[in-house]
Amino acid sequence: MNAPHTPDTLIALEGAELTLPSDAGPVEILRGIDLAVRPGEILGIVGPSGSGKTSLLMIMAGLERATRGRVSLQGTSYEGLSEDALAKLRGENIGIVFQDFHLIPNMTALENVALPLELAGHEDAFDRARASLDEVGLSHRHTHYPGQLSGGEQQRVALARALGPSPKLILADEPTGNLDGETGEKIMALMFDIHERKGTTLILVTHEERLAARCNRRVVMADGNIVTDTAAPMAAD
């Protein structure tokens, strides 16, 4: 499969490979991934453990550098960008949602959400953070610390934090993996709703077939390769 970058591509991977050293010798994690994601798409990545889903996400986020091949966001190649330039690119364009939320424990919900906006130098960081928290239904939890919030609330804060800087791309790694079924449902409904309203591109790594089925494109990975890449109609809620 080859998916070169085109003007209507948000993020593109061309022959991306990832090999990591280990005591037993080099381990091939990704073996030449070609993938182009258009603006506004919801891409679900599924596959068994160890198939390379999370590594693919890390490469897209610029957190891991491809050993070979090319990764670009809106035509800007990651190759040659310094660590700080990648951090800036990420701060301005990509929001990340983790399975473990990764909120900073000594900061309130509001401060957590404002943080990427502050890092990007927005003077109205706290106003935008309030709006973002209100958007995920946490207007009453601004001053709470992560430890005072439920798992679902923490993930909503994480989502508000990812959405705060109005990124073009949201990368979510098992966003419901640490939540009970009902709470997970609510979080996903929220994510899809935001996508509906803002048109943000969403790339989800998930184990849950049901969740993947709701994406409008589905990539199945195995052993570091994309084995199927299919467009799927959005399932009804």
Binding site: M58, D84, D100, E118, L119, D173
Partner: protein, 843 residues
Amino acid sequence: MAAAPSLSLAWRIASRELRGGLAGFRVFMLCLALGVAAITAVGWTSGAVVGGLAADARRLLGGDMEMRLVHRTATADEQAYLAANSARLSETVRLRAMASSRDNTARTLIELKAVDDVYPMIGQMQLDPPLEREDMLVARDGLPSAVVDANLLDKLGITQGGTIRIGQTQFRIAAVITSEPDRVTNIINYGPRVMIAKDDLESTGLVQPGSLIRYYYRVLFTPGTDPTVWRDNLAAALPDAGWRVRAANEAAPGVRRFIERLTLFMSFVGYTVLLVGGVGITRAINAYLESKSRTIATLKCLGAPAGLIVQVYLLQVFVLSIAAIGLGLVVGIVLPALSLYGIADQLPVRPIFAWHLEALGIAAAFGFMTSVTAALWPLGRAREVPARDLFRAQAAPLSVSPRRIYLLWIGLGLALLTGLVFLSASDKWFALWFVLGALVTVSLLRLAGSILIRLSRRLHPKNAIARLVIANIHRPGAATSGVILSLGLGLAVLVAVVQIEGNITRQIDERLPKEAPAYFFIDIQPGQVADFDRIVTGIDGTSDLRREPVVRGRIVEINGTDVSEVEIKPESQWAVRGDRALTSTGAMKPDTQIVAGEWWPADYSGPALISLDDGLAKGFGVGIGDTLTLNILGRRITAEIASLREIDWQTLRFDFALVLSPGVLEGAPHTHIAAVRASEAAEAPLEKAVTDAFDNVSAIHVREALAAARDLMAGISIAIRAVAGLTVLAGAIVLAGALAAGQERRRFDAVVFKVLGATRKRIAATFVLEYGALGILTALCALGVGTLAAWAVSTFLMHMDWTWLPGEAILTLAIALLATILLGLAGSWRILGMKTAPFLRND
């Protein structure tokens, strides 16, 4: 509007982080505060005492300027000049003499001071019972009066109002001295003070030609006198007086030197506390940043540049350092201030309770530089925390090396700290020794730590518990090398101090009594020598009588250059500081060790030659053929160095640093000095026989002098051990921090053990074994390194014979080992009682 992240953003994030409390920073703050407190306490105390010396300088000197002559009084012209050029002039005379009880059953060496009516020009004599100055030394019941130190009464078994005999005169004791304004407590006193009127001195018969008598002339200036101009005028008007002139700011030089040396030594112990603390700081910040690795990774994911991460945590280090340094400064002032307040009466001067900003500044600078330098390594590592770790279950310990720029910054920090050591030390050689010693010690302990870790990797015991204990020594992130370095350094200092002190005490207690003479007799007149020899040799139990003629003279030039302009090593400066005893002899004495040149023929007559102590020659930078010019009773003699001798002064051997060729001192008024060995039983009869026969001869009892030295040593050693103990405390804090950091792992071990059926007793045994192994390894390293340091200091710095004294060192280490185990168990006790189920559910 978007702008680049700034320092203010770093500060905002840092302040939010600090809200989490100081739990992760306790060890960091304690280590830093302790080090700063130690350095502050030493510097502040020294500042308070030196400040006291400065504030009381005129009182301590007894005037605005002091002129001292040895052997002779000032001439009429000299006295007239002094009187004409001052508002007031006072003369006092000081000498050592013997005092005995009226019935002559008890006698003691005294420090006799004869004063004129004007004395004291500054301050007041305080006496018990209180007496007006004019009544103090008036004759009572036909006997001249004396006022004395209280301990003279004890020594002679008499009471106030009783009489004592000095030389040929009886004195009535009018009062006991409680305070003498110009008296500076000497480091070693030869005897109690006895003060008499100057006019009564003559009648004692002690003033003999060549006797060691010092005459002090003190003046008070008229208002507006410039001391420097006054001194220059004096030198121009009376160039050949040969007196030692001292201004008020030079008062009590002995105390000043003593405080300077003690401050120097204690400061270095203080720096060691901070060095040990520095290891703790690095470990504490490393542990803190490891606990923050997820936060750091999250910040990176959210777009934080690596530089911002370093700024955020460096700012936290700054803030906490300032707080810890503040705490250290407060403790470092308050504790010594309270102690000084408590013992103010026993100090030679009134301490000045002020800020002493220089001392505080130095301590703060050391603290700040240490904390920032120690923090750079973990900060440099934290910068490299990969954001991808967030996607993994467990963040790995910080294991990468920082970038080269951080290593350069660390190097710069260490260089600045070294510079600060040199800048603040009054003795640069000592500073060099300290820096090199610290470098070698730290390297040795690190080497020992890594060797032990490597060795433990090779051990594979069959017993599961032993295997776990061994594994805990070498597993990644183990505290072994940090504990060996920090606690080991603290213990090594203690081991070194204990052994050096032990060697000095051994020197005083064992070696000296065997090798030193029992008595030195001074001020024997030439006409008395035949009788003296006869009396001494006639007493059973005496041996090895050695007697030499002696005059006092001062080295004024070295190779024609004034001594004040010659660079002389600190350890040799004593020889040019004042008058020294000189002798002149023909034949070489037995057991003389010539190391360079040759001894002159016994019947030599020719230009003046000198045989010099080899150590002094090195200190002066002179050798065979060079010249020394001596001022002997106003006569200048230039002598060529003919030979160098090695003299072991530590045996209190009877010898002279400067020996002149025969004939040089001919005609100079001189006395004799003698040294005699005596069995313990012969000591009292010997002293009685000599002092009964010769009123003017003073006996210095070596055993008493040694006891005084030992008492002094005991006092100093308490202070030194207290400061050295702080290094161990710093090490213990680091150990406690390391054990606390390992608690999570131990909890996991304990849970697994319980699940597998281990009893609490068995788990406790594992902990004891682990702490014991760590303690023993640390103790062994400390024993080796501390002993090496003690040997080096004793041999090369103190030029002392060295004996390994393992007993006390091992005892010290055993206590430390026990403390390690108890400290570790105290932290782990709760783990033993912990239920396994909740842990397993949560994990």
